[in-house]
Symmetry: C2
Subunit: 581 residues, 2 copies
């Protein structure tokens, strides 16, 4: 071992010991006769000290040290005169007697500090240096901790981790697959899995009873800010259970993670149906760190000749507490905000609840103080509050209001990243209709079971069927979701029919699963968590990239290794493919 | 929960309890007025019992039960009159009061038993049924246990698991890559990693200090019996260490695994240089469960006019204990065995050590009893033993004799699968020469460091350089291997030059790694274990397939899901590729 200790562990109790440390030069300070070097490794920083009495050879080497040089220092642990009690090693320094340069370093293209001067592009190109920054490394250590405690919890619940294959079969359903040409099977392709869905169901047919896997999945989609072509799931499945069992078991898991990793007790998860979530928050992943629930004003607005409200099926209000002092300018800016194409509202109606008990609104022409008082009451608005109103088609205005609610919550500081509120959203619709083609699509996936009480609507009123499907939502982010699966071949067949698969399509794509269901498939269900997102949530970040060691950019490129890249004509030939012109 | 207990836990202590069990019908026995059903799940088998006093509805259902039906049974735990003490649940049975068929099953195409009547092909096609067999499921549970204890050990040693990317860059070096056409980067391809080698080295440059990952790797090679296109590695890397530290740490890991998973103390691992392994066993992965070490007879054979020996640079002997009673037929058969093309020996010389102290050999014409006695002495052969002799070019005859030694060890029962002997093989040659092209290849990989004392031979005598490289070998199987890496850019450059890379080739293939080495790379090294092979070794099996949930066949096909398969013209078009004629 080139060291006796690492850079995060020595303290006053070690004073007098001779030690050997290795690490990177984070900083060198020359104070005339004194020189200090901050030596950094994964575990921390320890101060090395040099003075006039140091060995001249050592002093010569110190003089050569640049940032990020890799060194080995031998010396005595000594109490510091100038202590830094904020650092675990801040009471000591190493008076260095022997110094070796293990490797030199060019000057890094950006500073290796939490607040770096490097932009995104350069940091991605030199990701190996970016990863030296404390905050980035902490993110990956957090990821390791989370994975460890997920496994610990699931192992304790008799789950078995089973690896499912990465080279599988392409299915045209859903998102686009990445494919892999097969050399040995000319003209044929493997696909990379978008999830191990069918394999985990097969494992249930096999009697594995409780399966999990922390597993890479792949989707060849156009990338948005928070999407990556390869991502990681915590994938789980159980047999002989009902929805309630799954909710309880994975509620236990998330409680375990918060407790072990963040020392937090997040309590019991509230449950909310999809309909309730849409009704109260206009969103199937509501952020319940704050209230500002939707109020439906329509009945209070009718018969006053305000055409906008009279012609709208839905008039929605939220109360923004303490915003009664908003200026004209602020309201105009908010109005512009909701009118942006991303939100798409036609306008914004507001009402101030004045300190003197009166109301001032943008629709005073149509509504009396009495009317407005009723609005205020319904919204729970008090003196000094601002009521914001949108109107239109119900689903549309719910979505617009959801955005406005989240924005106001953000502005009001209600969305503290260190405050965690988790819930279950239940009873999702089984199917959704494509507005153009009028075709029905599975909202979750085609193996999701309908609620038994809605089953008879499968052929008659598909849109009204609720599924045995559930999502776990934390702070407005869907972290996981799943369903009780269909385990019956006939029902699966009906489902495929509703989804517009011909028998042949169903057989060619899912034949092996349907065959498997003929040989004693147990009742089963499961769910999957987006592990990258879970990590970023625990880390208090919005993006997933900084929780991946080597993420790709929005063009799906790894700019550090320069992938993807051209391959040789010979390779193409062996795979029996060629490029199009 | 559809059950109160699983099928492996009820015993006499539960007698009198009302319970609910779920599982598969393993067997139904109708004994006139009595019927028994063996109910199976992952955890075990519990006997259900039915008799004339049972509810008629229940009896009607029992009559319908076929093999592999999925059922739920409610009833009372009752002491059996006819106990089976070999089973954990063998003292009780469930007197069933309520019975529900959860799913029916067609008759499986083979029996779901350890000794099944199904051949390999049918079992692979119905892998989900094959996985119901106790032995196959036990293999995957063993795999889970091994993974768990690997993580437990490495976590305890401050290793961090970091996920490295699956979509990386193709490198023409080494084995063939699987490639993935990029839709967003037209005409370009990702490659699937053959190992995370460069990424783990970059993580060391990043200061991660101790990394591991249990990770899928991919190789597009023509498949031999024990190869799979996707396989799993335990991949590890450490900084600021020397070879000795790595040997100690991973010796600790394998001891931990044997202790925790098999309850065995395998003791300290002996160490052997590559040269010694070749000299004694003709093999760089010697099976040291037994002796039969090579003896070099050449000096004892000269000057007797036996041309075969006189013209051979090497005359090798092993002693097969107790084989002095081999018949002529057995010897002929053994001679044919060594003459097969896979072994390639020209012939086999033998010598019996007779009970009366005389010797009988196939070369009695040339050698006296005195000569033969000297041979026997050198080989440690005693009365009743058989000495087997091969001759030829040193490396060739070493390899032939290695095969013969292993074969004889097998025949003599020395290769007990439940006896585990692990060792380290050290000091591998850095380079090996292609006999045809005379080009030098890295024996391990191009990042392996030469021993410092051999460094000056890099350009003058490359074949004589030993590497800081090590393999862990158990029972004649290489389970892991690694090296201390080059962390210095100049040395890496010299290495690439010896390997015949032009500067440009080196830069285009490994540029990012060589760049990284300019920014403070620490001394580092590591190793990787073949996880599938480790599992099969622990499971006492020769093959890795039964330790994978969904393996592929020798053509790289998954016959269950029928992958790889053709993809649509539209998919090909989006990827900007087409098939060749």
């Amino acid at each position: 071992m080139l060291r006796t200790h690492h850079c995060g562990e020595l303290n006053i109790g070690n004073a007098g010991q001779n030690v050997k440390l290795c690490g990177w030069v984070a900083k060198r300070r020359d104070l005339g006769s004194l020189t200090f070097v901050d030596l950094r490794d994964r575990y921390g920083i320890t101060q090395l000290s040099f003075n006039e009495t140091s060995n001249p050879e050592v002093l010569e080497i110190v003089g050569k040290l640049g940032r990020e040089f890799v060194i080995q220092a031998e010396g005595k642990v000594t109490e510091r005169s100038n202590k830094n009690l904020k650092m675990p090693t801040g009471e000591i320094e190493i008076v260095v007697e022997k110094l070796t340069i293990l490797n030199m370093s060019l000057t890094p293209p950006f500073t290796i500090e939490e607040e770096t001067d490097g932009g995104e592009d350069i940091r991605m190109q030199y990701r190996y240096l970016d990863l030296r920054r404390d905050n980035v490394r902490r993110n990956l250590m957090l990821r390791h901790q989370l994975a460890k405690h997920v496994r610990q919890y699931l192992d304790g619940q008799e789950f078995i981790e089973v690896e499912t294959p990465v080279l599988i079969k392409s299915t045209p359903e859903g998102a686009r697959d990445f494919v892999v040409p097969s050399r040995m099977n000319s003209g044929q392709f493997y696909a990379l899995p978008q999830s191990p869905q069918t394999f985990k169901q097969l494992l249930m047919v096999s009697g594995f009873d409780r399966y999990y896997q922390i597993v890479k999945c792949f989707r060849d989609e156009d990338l948005r800010a928070d999407r990556q072509p390869e991502f990681t799931q915590i994938d789980c499945e159980m047999s002989f259970i009902e929805q309630e069992d799954i909710l309880n078991l994975f509620e236990g898991m998330i409680q375990h993670l918060f407790k072990e990793v963040k020392g937090l007790d997040i309590g019991t998860l509230p449950r909310m149906t999809y309909e309730e979530a849409m009704h109260k928050y206009g969103n199937d992943k509501p952020d319940i760190r704050f209230g500002m629930e939707f109020q439906y004003l329509k009945p209070l607005t009718e018969g006053r000749n305000f055409n906008v409200f009279d012609t709208a099926p839905c008039v929605l209000a939220i109360c923004a507490p303490g915003c009664g002092n908003y200026t004209r300018k602020q309201l105009d800016e908010l109005t512009e905000w909701v009118k942006r194409p991303q939100i798409g509202a036609k306008g914004l109606i507001y009402m101030f609840c004045n300190a003197d008990g009166t109301y001032k609104s943008s629709v005073d022409k149509f509504y009396t103080q009495d009317d407005l008082e009723k609005w205020a009451k319904l919204c729970g608005a008090e003196k000094g509050d601002l009521v914001l109103v949108l109107s239109g088609e119900t689903r549309t205005v719910q979505k617009q209001m959801s955005e406005l609610r989240l924005e106001m919550g953000q502005r009001l500081g209600y969305r503290d990243k260190n405050n965690f509120k988790a819930l279950w959203v239940l009873d999702f619709p089984l199917l959704e209709q494509d507005e153009e083609t009028k075709k029905w699509h599975a909202m979750h996936h085609p193996f999701t079971s309908p609620k038994s009480e809605d089953m008879d609507k499968l052929e008659t009123d598909p849109g009204a069927i609720r599924a045995n499907a559930y999502d776990m939502v934390i702070n407005g982010v869907e972290v996981g979701g799943g369903s009780i699966r269909i385990h019956n071949k006939e029902l699966q067949g009906r489902m495929f029919k509703v989804l517009g698969f011909t028998d042949e399509e169903a057989r060619s794509q899912f034949g092996f699963l349907m065959n498997a269901f003929e040989y004693g498939a147990p009742p089963h269900g499961g769910l999957a968590f987006g592990f990258d997102r879970l990590c970023s949530l625990f880390g208090g970040s919005d993006g997933i990239r900084d929780f991946m060691a080597f993420p790709k950019n929005n063009q799906g490129r790894d700019v550090m290794i320069d992938a993807p890249s051209a391959i040789s004509e010979q390779q193409l030939g062996e795979l029996n493919i060629k490029l199009r012109g």
